[in-house]
């Protein structure tokens, strides 16, 4: 009787399965463990994680490490991926021509159009034309209200106000004649004076209707059709805000600029073609499908995509001790997104949506230096190490222990850097493919589309459901259910949208409402995983026909996601495939497939030897 361990080093986690062999080829898996991978997979740093995982699995069994007779390491797939975002359009507004933002409490209501004038100059203003008064933060609201009242008493026509501090309601409540007031305008000193401007505030719960419509802006400012075309991006940026200001400056210029986003060169086995990233994801993916099977993809240097390509190739070159020139990018996935961008020349940090293309690339090389790692590990733990077993074969072997499966079975390994698929036919033949784009790409999309600039928060949004803290003692989950707490919640969480993590609710520090965040999260997952599931299965299916696959088992970190398996199941439903999360050995869920496969393969070898 001997004890052996199967060790699977992945990009993110290292998994272990401990098994007992009885010498007649019968195997009994006793325990398993999972830890974070230390360092990039295939490097010597991995040993720390491996030893931790072995300890974790052996401790409950009371078996010392030295009693293991063999440790099996997987031949890790030498695949890494990286992601990048290429912006295609951006709104450039010079000479500060608009403010569209959502202060929580603007004052008054309605639309006013007049000429901008500073509060100090109000006394000298002519009484035969409308004015929009600019109130800096240095002036107290009582004084501001009084001065405006004095001006209106002197028959001056004040039609609106732009205020720096959060004083809109306070000023409005003290005016004899109500006017719309936009407040919390951070850079009030940038508001040009003596210019024609319009101020609009909508009723609570509504958004501006006039300044979000290009023809109403044209009406207000008497614009010709060409000028109206120019203000169209402004109108679009103001949609959905509760208050807005548009200022017409003589030299003011707004344009939606298309940024040259670089080119991709797709080289296939039979043909090649170039495609502009600026053409969008659909055009890129159509071209990819056209050129298949791909041998290499190149990107124009000096662009974001070019930089990303350089990065993955460098990492892989370092890892495998090969020259960078020998490393080729073999797959990409592109998705269209809208990303909020700070408007250049903004007055209140307003944003406009720009078009962008998100790209993920994948590099595959011959072999990772697993032997080097095996020698190092052998020295440290004094147990024989054996490297063997193609990762895809081992994963399938492990996944087949899922109750209710049989060949033809495909597994979809939804990882961080790549989406991998393998298929085992009735004959036992295994075919596999690695595709660019997985969990990391979803995180990038969430990060960019919500304008978070914080990967960790994006990662949290991806992994957890959302909730809103409605009182000091309860929160409402995104499905509408309510959870009460016996102790008061942190006041910093109050009224906020949170992600429900294992350590309790964590605030999402953005103003977006919960439903919008949820939609962006779901769409990001669909764009990547649903598209990749179909791409991957088509490549491994017999004759490229997905319908000929009987069962699909999901494995890998993203298979544990609370909604991705459902999304993939929905789309594969149409092909009549049974789709679900794997349940390795009936207990592990989608984890431990490769580690389990390794010990099963060893048992099989033993069986062959003894018979």
């Amino acid at each position: 009787m001997t004890y052996i361990a199967g060790v699977d080093i992945g990009n993110n986690s290292t998994e272990v399965a401990i098994a007992r062999l009885n010498g007649r080829g019968e195997v009994n898996v006793l325990s398993s463990a999972l830890v974070r991978t230390v360092g990039i997979k295939g490097t010597l740093q991995n040993t720390h994680g491996i030893i931790d995982a072995l300890d974790g699995a052996l401790n409950p069994l009371d078996i010392p490490l030295k009693d293991l007779s063999l440790v099996l390491l997987n031949e890790a797939t030498p695949v890494i991926g990286d992601v990048a975002m290429e912006t295609i359009t951006e709104t450039v507004i010079t000479e500060s021509a608009m403010i569209g933002h959502n202060p929580s409490t603007p004052g008054g209501m309605g639309l006013g159009r007049g000429t901008t004038i500073s509060l100090e100059k109000l006394d000298e203003a002519a009484s035969d034309e409308p004015w929009i008064v600019i109130i800096p933060g240095t002036v107290d609201f009582l004084e501001a209200a009084e001065r405006v009242n004095r001006a209106t008493s002197a028959k001056k026509d004040i039609v609106g106000a732009i205020v720096q501090k959060d004083d809109g309601v306070l000023i409005h409540n003290r005016l004899h004649h109500p006017i719309p007031i936009v407040d919390e305008v951070l850079h009030i000193d940038r508001v040009p004076l003596g210019m024609s401007a319009a101020v609009e505030v909508a009723a609570p719960g509504r958004s501006v209707v006039k300044l979000s419509n290009p023809y109403d802006i044209a009406t207000q400012f008497d614009l010709d059709p060409d000028e109206t075309r120019h203000v169209h991006p402004i109108a679009r940026a103001l949609m959905g805000t509760r208050s807005a200001v548009v200022i017409k400056t003589p030299k003011g210029d707004i344009e939606e600029r298309r940024i040259p986003a670089g080119k991709l060169l797709l080289i296939g086995e039979k043909k090649k073609a170039g495609v502009e990233v600026g053409k969008g994801a659909e055009a890129i993916m159509a071209q990819v499908a056209e050129i298949l099977p791909l041998t290499e993809i190149r990107a124009e240097t000096g662009t974001n995509v070019g930089g990303m390509f350089e990065n993955v190739r460098n990492v892989m070159a370092d890892l495998t001790d090969q020259p960078v020139s020998a490393i080729r990018v073999q797959d990409i996935i592109a998705v269209d997104t809208l990303v909020p961008q700070k408007v250049l020349g903004s007055l209140a940090d307003e944003c406009a949506l720009g078009n962008a293309v998100g790209l993920a690339a994948m590099v595959e090389t011959h072999k990772l230096p697993m032997q080097r790692l095996a020698r190092e590990l052998e020295e440290q733990i004094a147990v024989p190490i054996c490297v063997g077993g193609v990762e895809a074969d081992m994963a399938i072997l492990g996944a087949l222990t899922t109750p209710g499966t049989r060949p033809p079975l495909a597994i979809l390994d939804l990882g961080g850097g790549s989406t991998d698929a393998s298929l085992i036919r009735e004959s036992g033949e295994v075919r596999s493919v690695h595709l660019a784009g997985a969990g990391d790409m979803v995180t990038l999309l969430i990060n960019k589309e919500l304008g978070l600039e914080n990967r960790e928060v994006a990662e949290n949004i991806k992994r957890h459901t959302l909730a809103k803290i409605e009182s000091l003692f309860h929160m409402r989950h995104e499905d509408g259910s309510v959870e009460f707490f016996s102790e008061a919640l942190d006041p910093r969480l109050f009224g906020r949208v949170v992600v429900v993590t294992d350590d309790g609710p964590k605030p999402v520090e953005i103003k977006e409402p919960l439903p919008k965040i949820a939609v962006i999260r779901k769409e990001a997952k669909k764009k990547i995983f649903v598209q990749n599931a179909l791409r991957a299965l088509k490549r491994v299916a017999p004759g490229g026909n997905i319908r000929l696959i009987g069962f699909v088992a999901l494995v890998g970190g993203s298979a544990l996601d609370f909604e991705i398996p459902g999304m993939i199941s929905d789309v594969l439903m149409e092909y009549g495939i049974v789709t679900g999360r794997a349940n390795v050995r009936g207990i592990e869920g989608p984890r431990n497939a490769v580690a389990t496969g390794l010990v099963l393969a060893q048992a099989k070898r033993e069986r062959i030897e003894t018979s």
Binding site: S104, T105, F141, D166, D167, G168, V169, L170, N173, R174, E470, S471, L472, F473, A488, D490, P491, R492, F494, G495, R496
Partner: protein, 136 residues
Amino acid sequence: MKSDTERAIQERFGKQGVEMPAVRIFIAPLVSREFINYILWGLEEEGIPAELKEMEDETSAVLLAKLAADSASLNVGIGIDKAKVVLHHRDLLQENPLFSLGAEELNRTNLRCLGANAARLFKGSPLIFQDGSPGS
């Protein structure tokens, strides 16, 4: 003497002592008027009515705040004594008020912020924090 603001608020929202939806503010004797105005402005900007009541006996701000919160229909109360301003909620234990401003923190920014937060506590909107003050 009542300030303009107090009068304005009472005109808008009704007379003192009449039951109406409002954040209640209980004030110990001999408290500076100025404190109170900043708090009221914070509430006003957020569009939530307030109701003032001056107490005759010397009582601590925490107790006043708790009493105010327990009796207010919006469940939110503020207590003010000469050295402290406290924001309380009916569901919180008396000894654990939401925010408490000590004598050295009684500046206009903090007071207005506390008023705004009293309103936001009722509205269910995120509270305002300026580098930890008023903090819990």
